[in-house]
Amino acid sequence: MISRVADQCFWLGRYLERAESSARVLGVTRNLALDAGVNPRHAWLPVIIVSGEEERFLARFGAGAADEGERVQEYLTWDEENPCSIRRSLAAARDNARSIREVVSLEAWEALNALHLWVLSPRARAEWRDDRHSFYRRIRTSAQSLQGIVRGTMLHDDALHFIFLGVMLERAGQTSRILDVHHHAFRSIDAHDVIETALWLSLLRACSGFEPFMKLHRGRVSPDAVARFLVLEPLFPRSVRFSLRAAASRLERIRPPEEPALAGRESYERLRALAAWVGSKQRDFDTAGLHDLLTRVVDETSAIAGVLGRELFGQVPEVATGAQAQ
C-alpha cells in the first residue's frame, strides 16, 4: 500500500489508543484521589509524568499545580496546546482517518467522526462538568468500540494491520510508562499497607487489569505480582508482552519473513527481538530491575517507530511528517 497511507493508518491506531489510555488513567486517578486518602500530589503528578508533559505543564502552571486534580484533568482532556490531550488525540486520529477516507470503512469513519463532533460539542463539556465518570467512560468505550468496528467492517489487509500495529505499539509504551511511573512513586512514599494496596489496585484499574488479575491471583495483591502481571501475563491483552507480540505478528503479516527482500527487515527484527527479550524475563523477573526493563521497552518501541517511518512509511530521516507533527 501507499507509504503515506500506511503511516496514517499507523498513527490513527496510535492516537486512538492514546485517547483511550488517557481517559482510563484520568478516570482511575480521580477515583483514587477521592477514595484512598492519598496525598493529591502522589495521585496527580504521576499522571502528568506518564503523559510526557511534566516539563511543559509545570513551566506553565508552576510546581504547585500538580496537586490540583482539576487543573491536571483539564490540561490532559481539553488543552489545545497539549498535543497529548484527549481532545487533540481524537482530532489527530480523526484527521488521519479523514486523509485516508478511501481506506477506512464508512462505518468506522462515521463512528470516529461522531465521537470527534461530540467532543467538540457543548454536550461533551456539560457531561464533563456534571458526570465526570460517565465522560471518561464514554471516551473509553467509544474508542474501544471503534477498534471493534474497524475489525468487523474493514478488509483484514495491510491497512488494518498497520492500524493495529499502531494500537499495539502505543499500548506497550503506555502500559510500560504507567507501571514505571507508579512503581517509582509508590516506593518513594512512606505509606502504610492499606494505602499501598489501594495504589496498586488503582494501577491495575488504570490498565483495565483489575478483574483479569483477580481471576488469576484469587485476590492476593502484592506489588511483585501486579508488576509481573502487567509486564508478562501472556493472556492479558494490555500486558507489555502481549502488546509487543501482537505488534510483531501484525508486522509479520504486513511483511512475511519468508520474503526477505521486502522493506521492513530492521523494524521486524528489532520488534521481534524486543518481544522475545521481554518474554525471557519470565524466568528471572525482579522488581528491582523493573525500571531498567520498562525504560528499555519505552526507548526501543519509540526507536522502532522511527525505523518503521524510514523503512515503510517513506520518511526521510529527521523530517517529521504531518501526521507525526500533529
Partner: protein
C-alpha cells in the same frame, strides 16, 4: 373534495421567470405531475422533519467542504434542499446531444491549438485573443496526450431563461467539481423520499464512478486491464477533499498526494510499503499550475517534479490534460458556436448567452456605455468573484468596474443579466417552499469511445431570497436533479 394541507399549497412562481416544476399559472408541469404529487403528499411539518434528517445524515457522513478562511479547518455541509429539480426526458435528450457535441468540438479545438492552429488561419477565431489567455501554455504545444483525449471530465454550466431554453453559461474543462454531491444527494433522496423517486421514474446516477474509471483506463498508455490509476488530491485541507476521497473510494482507486508520487526515467511511480509501483493514469484534482514545479510554479509543494515530462513522453495519462484552461477561458466562450461549426460542420445544438468581448473595440464601447445594465465578468476568476452585477450595483461599484475594463479590456466580458429559472425550495425560517433561482451543471465523460453524459447533474440554488448567486461560497446550496425516464422506456 378532500382538502389536506400539502407542501406546495400557495406556491407562487416568480413573475417573468421560468419555474422548473410549475407553469406561470401555478399548475404542475405535466411531465412531473406524478412526482410532484408524491412529494406534495407531505405537510410542511412532515417535510421539515425529512429535511432535518437529510442534513443530519450529511454531517455525520462527513459530506462536507472545508472553509478556507478558517485556519482551524472548519468543515461545513454544502446546504442541501430536499425538493428536487426535475428535467423531462425530451428536454434531457436535447441537452445530452448538445453537451456531447460541445465537448467533442472543444476537444478538437484544444488538439488544434496545441497542434497546427489551423483555426486561426481562416480567421474563425482571433488568434491574438485566444493566445493572450493566462491559461494558454505555449510550452505544451506539440504534446499529444496518451489515448488522444484531453477533456476526460467536463462540467458544463447551464442556465434556463424565461423562455424555458437552456443556455450554456460556462464550460469547465480543468478540474470540474461537484459530482460527489450529485451522488450523495441522490443517496439522501432515496433514503428520505423513496416513494417519490419511484413515482417519478428517475434515471439512476450511481453508474458515474464505474463509467469514470472505465474512461480513465481506456486512455491508459498500457493495456487497460494492466493499468494502475490513482486520484491525486492536494490534500485533506482542500475544499473539495471530500469529493476526491469519495471518487477514489467509489472507483476503488488509491487516493494519493503529491509526496506519494515520484518520477524516474520519465515514468511515474507511487511509494508503497513494498517499494515503488508504476502509475499509468492520474486523475489529478490539483490545479495544473501546481502540478509540476519544474514546469509551472517552482514554489508548489503540491506538485510532482518531472510529471509533465512523463506526460509529454506518453508514459502517464493526466486527466484532465494540462492546458485545457485556454478553451474554457471566458473570453474564448463567445466563439464556441463558431468552433462547433468549424470542426464539426454542424449547427450548435445548445444556445449560449450573447456576450460582449471587451477586447473588441466596438464591444468595449457598448459595455462602457451600458455598464449599469450588464453583468461584467473577469475572464480568469470563478466562484462568483470578480464580477459586477450592473443592475444591483451602486454607482461607485459601476464606476470602479468602468475603470478596470478601460485599463485591461482583455480581462473582461459582459452579458445581459439572465432571469435564472426557479425551483420550489424549502425555506427553513418560514417552514414552507418558495421560488429560488437555480442553475445546472451536467457532467460529461470522455474516453476512447467518445463523450457520455451523466443523466443528472448538480443543481445549485441561490438560497437567499432574490439572489442570483448560486456558489456555495456565497450562500448557495444544492438539490438533487431528477432526469426522468421517457414514457416509452
Amino acid at each position: 373534495m378532500k382538502i389536506t394541507p400539502s407542501l406546495f399549497d400557495g406556491y407562487a412562481p416568480l413573475r417573468g421567470t421560468w419555474d422548473e416544476l410549475f407553469t406561470a399559472r401555478g399548475d404542475k408541469r405535466p411531465s412531473f405531475s406524478k412526482a410532484i404529487d408524491a412529494i406534495a403528499a407531505r405537510s410542511g411539518a412532515e417535510f421539515a422533519a425529512c429535511q432535518a434528517l437529510a442534513e443530519r445524515a450529511l454531517m455525520n457522513q462527513g459530506v462536507t467542504f472545508s472553509v478556507y478562511s478558517d485556519q482551524r479547518g472548519t468543515e461545513k455541509i454544502f446546504p442541501f434542499c430536499l425538493v428536487p429539480r426535475m428535467i423531462s426526458a425530451e428536454d434531457w435528450a436535447q441537452l445530452e446531444r448538445g453537451l456531447a457535441q460541445r465537448v467533442a468540438a472543444l476537444e478538437l479545438f484544444l488538439d488544434d491549438l496545441y497542434g497546427d492552429q489551423a483555426i486561426f488561419r481562416d480567421g474563425t477565431v482571433p488568434g491574438d485573443l485566444v493566445l493572450a489567455s493566462k491559461s494558454w501554455f505555449p510550452k505544451l504545444r506539440g504534446v499529444r496526450p496518451p489515448g488522444g483525449v484531453r477533456i476526460h471530465i467536463a462540467g458544463i454550466d447551464l442556465v434556463r431563461g424565461p423562455d424555458g431554453v437552456f443556455r450554456v453559461l460556462e464550460d469547465n474543462l480543468r478540474t470540474p467539481s461537484g459530482v460527489s454531491y450529485v451522488l450523495e444527494n441522490r443517496i439522501i433522496s432515496k433514503r428520505v423520499l423513496p416513494e417519490c423517486m419511484d413515482a417519478g421514474r428517475v434515471r439512476p446516477v450511481d453508474v458515474y464512478p464505474s463509467r469514470l474509471a472505465d474512461a480513465l483506463r481506456s486512455v491508459s498508455p498500457v493495456d487497460p486491464s494492466e493499468t494502475t490509476a490513482v486520484v491525486l488530491t492536494p490534500g485533506p485541507y482542500n475544499s473539495a477533499y471530500f469529493e476526491h476521497s469519495f471518487l477514489a473510494r467509489t472507483m476503488g482507486l488509491e487516493l494519493v498526494q503529491a509526496e506519494d508520487l515520484f518520477v524516474e526515467g520519465d515514468m511515474v511511480y507511487c511509494r508503497t510499503t513494498r517499494g515503488p509501483r508504476r502509475v499509468h493514469v492520474v486523475y489529478r484534482r490539483t490545479d495544473e499550475t501546481f502540478l509540476d514545479p519544474r514546469v509551472f510554479r517552482p514554489d508548489s509543494l503540491l506538485g510532482v517534479p518531472g510529471i509533465m515530462g512523463a506526460w509529454a513522453k506518453g508514459n502517464v495519462t493526466l486527466a484532465n490534460a494540462p492546458g485545457n484552461g485556454v478553451a474554457d477561458d471566458k473570453a474564448v466562450y463567445p466563439f464556441v458556436p463558431d468552433i462547433v461549426r468549424y470542426y464539426l460542420s454542424e449547427e450548435p445544438i445548445l444556445e449560449q448567452l450573447p456576450t460582449w468581448v471587451c477586447a473588441r473595440d466596438e464591444d468595449r464601447r457598448f459595455v462602457l456605455e451600458h455598464m449599469a445594465e450588464l453583468v461584467v465578468k473577469a475572464v480568469d476568476e470563478a466562484g462568483g468573484y470578480g464580477m459586477l452585477m450592473g443592475p444591483q450595483a451602486s454607482a461607485a461599484e459601476v464606476e470602479e468596474f468602468r475603470r478596470r475594463v478601460a485599463a485591461e479590456p482583455r480581462k473582461y466580458i459582459a452579458q445581459r443579466r439572465l432571469e435564472l429559472s426557479t425551483c420550489p425550495t424549502w425555506v427553513e425560517g418560514k417552514g414552507r417552499v418558495e421560488a429560488r433561482r437555480v442553475d445546472l451543471r451536467p457532467y460529461v465523460l470522455n474516453g476512447r469511445e467518445g463523450p457520455w453524459v451523466l443523466p443528472g447533474g448538480l443543481t445549485r440554488v441561490a438560497l437567499v431570497e432574490g439572489s442570483y448567486v448560486v456558489n456555495s461560497s456565497q450562500g448557495g446550496g444544492s438539490k438533487d436533479t431528477w432526469v426522468l425516464k421517457s414514457e416509452a422506456s
